[in-house]
Amino acid sequence: MADLKALKNKCIITVAPTGAWPKKENNPNVPMTPEEIAEDVYECWKAGAAVAHLHMRDENGNGIMDPVRFKKTVELIKAHKDCDIVLNLTTSGDIHADDEIRVAHVKELKPEMASYDCGSMNWLNSGLFINSPKFLEDCGLLFQELGVKPEIEAFDPGMIANAAYYIKKGVLKTPVHFQFCMGCANGITGTMKNLVFMKEEAEKLVGAQNFTWSCFGVGHSAMEMLYGAVALGGHIRVGMEDNVLFAKGQLAESNAQFVRRAVEAVKLYGREVATPDEARQLLNLPPYNVQ
């Protein structure tokens, strides 16, 4: 059993380097190929990231749930023998992918974590991001069977309530880990008031001892959510999946640039950056198994 009290001051930095939407035309520094993503993740790990949330792209830069690309990227990251970063693979990298292909790579690669989007919503005011009850039930049970920790992405408070339902139903097992996605179009806006509300909703619905949480903000709320999470005792996510601008009018040079800023913020506040092994303890993951 991990000594969570000793880890109370630790802050996990997750990097989301690629996502499904930004292309080179949005920022030429977005890593797209397995080789680019793997090297980017390695640089982010060296900068202080403990978790990497990965998406794949096809040859045209569009999001794709391709098990081959996921496998290649994971292998390239693990080829760096010193890199013990926690890998978190998306299940939502293409809104047109069917339920089976969304988890094919999870079945094959059995990553330590995978994303679990706990409800459906409109996507960019133009499409549907569907996470049906059947998909969420099947996915939750599959993750339990495989020993994969769900990263529960909540874009609004209703998704937290949905997670509470799946916990009661046995589809999700506590302690769960939330990623509060703040400021996305069609989701909850990224304000401190809303971040506090999301945290308190989770405490009420799931129980304070039954979850950990992280957050990020897109656009104008990026820094507010970063500092908010640090101050409220949460964990943070940064990277070009959520923001291609590092500051107003300034394209990000790299994902590691985001990680270095997050490390600085955590330290200035008086918290400490969690190593991957400390992140595993905080997230109730098994110790790292070098393969």
Binding site: G19, A185, G219, D242, V244
Partner: protein, 62 residues
């Protein structure tokens, strides 16, 4: 899966200014969202989307 900041881009039909509002700031601007920052006229919505070559042609309203 997330997506970055989205913008609504406008052209002011009165003074010709091209400007954009970030959608996540709708709550901050309320009824003024979409208005020209120079003359206060209602702008004409011309495009919307993320940071891109197209939307970067419009000046941010802060």
């Amino acid at each position: 899966m997330t997506w970055g900041a989205q913008y609504m881009c406008y052209v002011c039909e009165k003074c010709g200014k091209k400007y954009r509002y970030a959608i996540d700031l709708i709550g901050d601007y309320g009824a003024d969202f979409g208005k020209c920052p120079v003359c206060g006229s209602e702008g004409k919505l011309t495009c919307e989307g993320p940071v891109s070559v197209e939307t970067q042609q419009y000046e941010d309203v802060e």
